[in-house]
Amino acid sequence: MTLSIDTFPDHSLTVLVWIVLGSPFLAFVLQSFLGEKLPRKGDWLSLSCNAVSFAAALLLSLNVFSGSAEQVLRYSFTWVQAGSLHIQAGYYLDSLSLIMLVLVTFIALLVHLYSIGYMKGDPRYHRYWAYLSLFLAAMLGVVASGNLLVTYMCWELVGLASYLMIGFWLERDKAVQAGKKAFIINRIGDLGFLTGLMALFSLTGTFDIPALNQYMPGEGTGGPGWLVYLAAGGLALGAFAKSAQFPLHTWLPDAMEGPTSISALIHAATMVAAGVFLLARLHPLFPEEVLSVIAVLGTLTAFLAASVALVQYDIKKVLAWSTISQLGYMMLGIGTGSYQGAIFHLVTHAFFKCLLFLAAGFIIHQMHELKHRRGLDIDEQDMRHMGGLRKHLPLTFTVYTLGAAALVGLPFFSGFLSKEMILLEAFHWSTAKGGAWNLVPVAATFTALLTAWYIGRQWSLVFWGKPRTGQPAAGPGRVNDPGEFDPLAWPEGLKETGWSMKLPMILLALFTVFAWFSLNPFHAEDAPLVRALTVTAAEPALELPDPAPGGAARWIGGSLLVVSGLLVPLVLAGSCRKYAGPAPFTPPARQHPVAKFLYEGWYIDKIYNRIFTRPVMKLAEAARFSDRKIIDGLIHTLAGFGVGLSKFIAWTDKYLVDGFFRWMAARVRSAGDFFRGFQTGSVQQYFALAMLGLILLFLVTLFMI
């Protein structure tokens, strides 16, 4: 087992860890029970707990990273002890976990702040904060846990929080369905995770993460060798569902039905990163074949998602597909063995994607205001109604530009560093494997060009050109005829207000530049972040290809620079020119079949609908029919028997049992009737009978004596 090193003998670091993990949970509990009654519905409670958590995480990191030796914070207590089964639970914090802790709490804090402005006036405002705190607590649990079972538990809680958040506006049927879809698809992944969990346990006899990471084939409680493949595959499936990779990616675009602040937090920066985190956390366990599959699928997803994002009109859907695409990059990093690159990209992506989402949320917010003030009947998220917004939303324009530049990977931005690292490693990996494997990094590089196109398109559609607000769209791609164009003026007084929304955006924008991550804008090998991750690797330190020696590496590195420095801006310029031209742009009357194919997400949703959803619904109908007709019918028949039996018994009771007594009574009555016949009322008759009796008596006494 790894040693636990506590630099402060008075265990104050332990306290800090529990503060980090416990404050959001405390906020959740308090907010759930008291939220509605608190002043301002408790948003300050959630916010302050988050801030406390963040501060504690920062302190922890500073303490841990100030030392030069490898430091790990560990704590565990016995959770289950049943016979030979011995399960510990607790936290395990190495550099990876600490980086994630700081990242998650920081992003969550900014989203908290943003939500105060964004969710103002919502009728279920108090529940929002409870869910947010629940999510944060669960996510921190995933990150900090030292026991894979606890990780699984928190993993599921995160999925639950996501479901609750997506369907937050539960009056909207689409939101409810989207929440269900997300939860069900995540459940499939959880099945994989559970399978992997069980396989690992039967292989090693433990759930403890550091122990698992040190497992060597042949050790442990034994089991067939293929269990490792099962475990790796299961864990990969879980990660793929959570991080929305092909084939389990379809829930993420639908998840955009939730509030944009949630999309920013969960579905861009943190929850979807949990999958990548899990794979990074357990990377020593993965056999090479599984990693290759992950790399290929990740690249495929990146390409697929980028292609779909090219033709989307909803501002959030573009960003959702972009998230899927960037997660594909992270998976590529994992698959090529460069988990440090993947995590680095995770961090930079968290910042710029969250920024893009918050900015999109702000735009939607303003469009909503516009819609109300002008009484328009438009979809406020549809980019075909936007245009020329840079004049009205200057700050949003600025931060959005910075975020887009980071996403695309322009030099001098953070995204460039992380993406370049992944691509370099991918080329390194594929040239070592040779042959057709080289297609993978090439496809990834091409996807970077697609990224430039779709984000440039979005940037132009929203901010450049002449405004298109006020025109109803009449079909996919069609905005209106030039002759009917009549833009409405931007309402007076609709300015960029709300510091609670602007401040997080500004802070995030600051982190999109390269400086925070590496002093060298073009190469990340000396980045403290990467160094920190490398140092804790159980395997030898990652060999970052040096630009100096090694001809192939140098050539690749240089060409990547060319791509980013030249081709990407060219593509950007091209897309801007196309989409920021004279308004309104008039796409063709009917959607090109390729465009339609891309728009429908390569028809994957439709395929799933046909293969899975419909048969399941049919099965459900059959079950309902069987339940109603057969099972209920059976019960009704049985009940009918019971009723029939009771009716028979009633008849018996009435006619036989009662009948007997009534017959008896009739006998008595007839006897009575007979005897009362003697009462004729005729006195003379009485007298005559009396005389008769007397005579009889006299005769009897005469003959007796």
Binding site: R676, G677, Q679, T680, G681, S682, V683, Q684, Q685, F687, A688, M691
Partner: protein, 95 residues
């Protein structure tokens, strides 16, 4: 004077009694029923004379007279209530 043989008394009283008995349960007139009762009573008195002497007979005759007076009063009340003195018609005690 020679004594009348006892049997003659008894036979006469028996005959009288039977006549009276017959009258009681076969007449449709309450007064005739009363007459029948008188017959029986007189038959009994005759028996009394035969066995007990004339003194008790005199008492019995007086009682008979009183009885008749009361009985006639009853019959008068019955008539004023039921408007008939046919015993067969007065069946209030019938079940």
């Amino acid at each position: 004077m020679e004594l009348i043989p006892l049997e003659h008394y008894l036979i006469i009283s028996a005959l009288l009694f039977c006549i009276g008995l017959y009258a009681v349960f076969s007449r449709r007139n309450a007064i005739l029923v009363l007459i029948g009762v008188e017959f029986m009573l007189n038959a009994a008195i005759l028996n009394l004379v035969a066995f007990g002497g004339h003194l008790f007979a005199v008492f019995a005759i007086v009682l008979a007279a009183a009885t008749v007076a009361v009985a006639l009063a009853i019959i008068m009340n019955v008539y004023s209530h039921y408007k008939t003195i046919d015993p067969e018609k007065i069946k209030d005690l019938k079940y």
